[in-house]
Symmetry: C2
Subunit: 139 residues, 2 copies
């Protein structure tokens, strides 16, 4: 039986796809409180970074750096927050979040602090397009 990648339904529900890097699907979190990307390696049944093969760990590191640079270049941010938690959604996913001293959760981590604030559709579309260009992803 072929085991293929399938995005966890919770991640699919909470995000808008930006496109695919060589390893990871890049998603924009549907939360206008924070410019917030999620990288999901397109591999079946992985929950921990250390369970990736070494090459995949290095590729993920490079893609986290790309996502970090894209967010920092496209947004006005004071700090990047990067995290692989996965206590609720076990599918391996990495948060890359642009934080501002003026944001609703600062200086706390973002999780659980405030309800997600929907983007205006045009703003979301513009940000997804700009991120896609910055990351040169396949869309």
């Amino acid at each position: 039986m072929a085991v293929t990648f399938s995005l966890h339904p919770q991640l699919a529900a909470d995000t808008t796809p930006v496109g695919d890097l060589p390893l990871s699907r890049v998603l924009l979190m549907n939360d206008a409180n924070f410019p917030w990307l999620i990288l999901v390696p397109r591999l079946p049944a992985v929950t921990e970074i250390i369970d990736l093969e070494e090459n995949a760990q290095l590729q993920l590191t490079a893609e986290i750096a790309q996502a970090s640079a894209a967010l920092r270049n496209l947004t006005t941010c004071d700090k990047l927050n990067i995290a692989a938690l996965g206590n609720v959604v076990p599918q391996l996913h990495v948060h890359v979040i642009a934080r501002r001293r003026s944001d609703i959760a600062w200086p706390k981590p973002v999780w659980g602090v405030a309800a997600a604030e929907p983007y205006a559709p045009a703003a979301r579309e513009a940000l997804v397009a700009a991120l896609g260009r910055a990351l040169q992803v396949r869309q």
Copy 2:
């Protein structure tokens, strides 16, 4: 003027040193609620992973993997949490935390959920020694 590495006083106050990997100082968080390591690259004035040179990013990735494996092997854990936040302490540091479904914060992230629980000195000493052996650090 030489600019040298100096551990941020807040990190020094909150942790016990385990030893040095080639890039990072490894610290055990003084909180018995969670087996919790912090890796601090011994470089001056770095706050973001993407501001490390590429080789240092790859080395940090390898050291995060070593710390993750050591924690997973030495503790009974259900999930690893890995994060570089730095909203409060700007010196670049990476949290590597062994989470259990039975821990006080599960499934939330650990930050800000509960007051740190001091280790019994003998338990802390034993854990630091076991981590030092697992990581083969210079102590």
